[in-house]
């Protein structure tokens, strides 16, 4: 009786209700579409950043992050990495030696970031192995062979198989130098890495930079990069007495990316506010109109004993029903709109090429989880309930004697 009255009231003026419902519906579809993109964007950004270079967590000698220099070494890397790898949520770790050096050919010299890695363990942490566009990722297993960023290779005018000289100051202060062969060229999503980075085998780097088995960085891959904060504590506990070490999450290593994530979540919320703020007035208006239409009828209802609170509730239910219908259809529509981009992705390569401190893949895959719909529908119900307050109050405060005479 209660709901069916509300239901019928919605459809007594089909056109007006249809317009209101479609407004909600379109707003909802738009929001779902936007959220799909934002989610895809955020995930893309996190994945790219984490798998590009940092890993989900990093372990360094204390102070290395603030002022990186090759002397700040983890002296017992195998012990540290064993303890970290033993944690259940850790996928794997990569040991790295990092320093700034001078790369030189017969023609030219340029500064570059030297990174010594073990290719097998690095591939658990980063996607570097997928980024090699010429030569082979594994080539650095054979000694004195390096992988060069595409832009760096272009700037130095070297090709696969060419020789380069690397000069750098080691951890003991000595100047290391040697000849290396270009075994591979990589192109990542980050212009900075393509322009600055050189990867070489861990033992080559240890030799060049005189680290005597020490490393500068242990990058940790987690099964769930989102859980970096709690995993950080687990790693700190596992390291226990190693108070010379510091553990950082990717959010701390890449504060720009972390801020961007927060910013995007904020943007979604703002979007909600704007769209449904506007919708709320539309719904209010519809309800007020429909109440003016049935003043007489409401007067009759009250005269035969319907309580004002019931009139109030019924009007509110009417509004929420419209919200529900609109938001459910809108969600479905939004999902359908996003479907193509969920499956095939949105090509933003025009954008990814822009110089940026954040790495993007050229294709963004939309992402929607059930929670996004639940939250959206909940938000709509809340807004429609709120916007019915004024019309419902108006209806419930009618004086039956006056209302019944209203034509």
């Amino acid at each position: 009786m209660f709901f069916s009255l509300a239901w019928r009231n919605i459809w007594r003026n089909r056109r007006r209700s249809a317009i209101t419902i479609s407004a909600i519906c379109i707003g909802m579809a738009g929001i779902i579409f936007m959220i799909g993109m934002m989610n895809g964007f955020v995930v893309n950004m996190i994945e790219n950043s984490v798998h590009l270079e940092t890993g989900a967590l990093q372990v360094h000698h204390r102070g290395y992050h603030d002022d990186p220099s090759v002397e700040k070494l983890i002296r017992n890397p195998s012990e540290v990495s064993d303890r970290v790898t033993a944690l259940p949520r850790v996928n794997g770790v990569s040991l790295r030696i990092k320093s700034f050096g001078l790369v030189s050919t017969r023609r030219d010299s340029l500064g570059a970031m030297l990174v010594g890695i073990d290719p097998s363990s690095e591939s658990v942490v980063t996607n570097l192995y997928k980024s090699v566009i010429a030569g082979s990722y594994g080539s650095i297993r054979s000694g004195n062979t390096v992988l060069l960023g595409k832009t760096l290779a272009q700037n130095l005018q070297v090709r696969l198989g060419d020789e380069i000289i690397i000069l750098s100051q080691g951890a003991d202060g000595s100047m290391g130098n040697d000849i290396y062969k270009v075994g591979g060229i990589f192109e990542t999503a980050s212009p900075d890495i393509d322009r600055m980075y050189i990867y070489m085998g861990l033992s080559d780097a240890s030799e060049l930079l005189s680290t005597y088995g020490g490393v500068n960085e242990i990058a940790v891959s987690l099964k769930d990069a989102d859980a970096a904060d709690s995993a950080k504590n687990a790693v700190i506990n596992a390291l226990g007495d190693e108070d010379e070490l510091e553990v950082l999450t990717w959010k701390e290593v890449l504060p720009g990316v972390a801020q961007m994530v927060v910013f995007m979540q904020g943007a979604v919320f703002l979007f909600y506010l704007i769209v449904f703020g506007v919708a709320a007035f539309g719904i209010s208006n519809t309800l007020i109109m429909s109440i003016f239409e049935r003043v007489h009828e409401l007067g009759v209802m009250m005269s035969i004993g319907t309580r004002p609170s019931r009139i109030f509730l019924q009007t509110a239910v009417e509004s929420v029903m419209m919200g529900l219908i609109g938001s459910v259809i809108g969600s479905a529509l939004g999902f359908l709109l996003s479907l193509n981009f969920i499956l095939n992705g949105l090509d933003v390569s025009f954008w990814a090429k822009a110089k940026s401190f954040i790495a993007f893949s050229p294709v963004i895959y939309y992402r929607l989880v059930p929670w996004d719909f639940v939250l959206g529908i909940f938000f709509v119900v809340l807004v429609t309930a709120l916007s019915s307050v004024y019309p419902a109050l108006k209806a419930s405060r009618l004086k039956p004697a006056d209302a019944i005479r209203y034509v």
Binding site: R106, G111, I165, A171
Partner: protein, 245 residues
């Protein structure tokens, strides 16, 4: 009358001590420090919180634009050479038998891990030509009265400093201290020179310490073991193709 005499004496003395212009002080002091040419042996100790090491090297300098430094110790780096001609600099690496030109982007990097940058070596003589000199007074350093000359870069000079303050002894113009300021006026580097001895034909500071103000717990100290001035060095010594030989 006596008063007048005293006054005149004081004034004259005042004039006398400021008789040299800032330009003359800098030019003469620099010339004293470098001569027309020089051949030297030095040892350099770099101290950081993580390591300490000593390098020994021989240096040849001719005019103001040619310099060659060859490392003689430790064994691992012996033969490594740095050649400066004009504003360019090359490193010779004996291990790979190659010469590397230092690109402009690397000029502010450390030279051999020390607190001296490549730029410090290349631009060391530019204080004469690239800066305006102002004598701002005298100050006592290590018990010796010293001229204090402020050097502000000329508008079109390609230098990294905003100001260099140069101190040299009034008595013999031996430089004892140089302060390097950024363009924002912060003290960035400090070079002190002491242990002044009679070397070859002149008084010369034989112990130099370079500090980078921001990095408190490290410094580089150079000891001049031997130096000869105005010796005849053939130009071929500074040819790129000869430095590996």
């Amino acid at each position: 009358m006596r008063l007048m005499l005293v006054l005149a004496a004081v004034l004259l003395q005042g004039f006398a001590s400021f008789a040299m212009t800032a330009d003359e002080i800098i030019t003469k002091s620099d010339n004293l420090f470098r001569g027309n040419s020089s051949v030297s042996s030095m040892s350099m100790t770099i101290k950081t919180p993580y390591w300490q090491r000593t390098l020994k090297f021989k240096g040849w300098e001719k005019g103001r634009d040619k310099m060659l430094i060859i490392i003689t110790y430790p064994q691992k780096e012996a033969g490594t050479a740095s050649l400066k001609v004009g504003n360019d600099m090359w490193n010779y690496l004996p291990k790979v038998n190659r010469t590397i030109k230092i690109p402009p982007s690397m000029m502010l990097q450390s030279w051999m891990g020390s607190d001296f940058t490549n730029d410090d070596l290349v631009k060391e003589s530019s204080i004469i030509h690239d800066y305006e000199h102002n004598l701002t007074g005298t100050e006592k350093i290590d018990g010796q009265q010293c001229y204090k000359v402020e050097n502000i870069p000329k508008p079109d000079a390609a230098v990294v400093w905003g100001k260099i303050v140069y101190f040299c002894r009034v008595s013999d113009l031996v430089p004892v201290r140089e302060e390097f300021y950024s363009e924002r006026g912060e003290l960035v580097k400090l070079l002190t020179m002491s242990n002044i001895k009679y070397m070859h034909d002149r008084n010369y500071p034989t112990y130099w310490v370079m500090r980078t103000v921001r990095e408190k717990d490290r410094h580089t100290a150079i000891t001049v073991e031997d130096i000869k001035f105005n010796t005849d060095i053939p130009d071929s010594k500074f040819l790129l193709q000869n430095i590996g030989k």
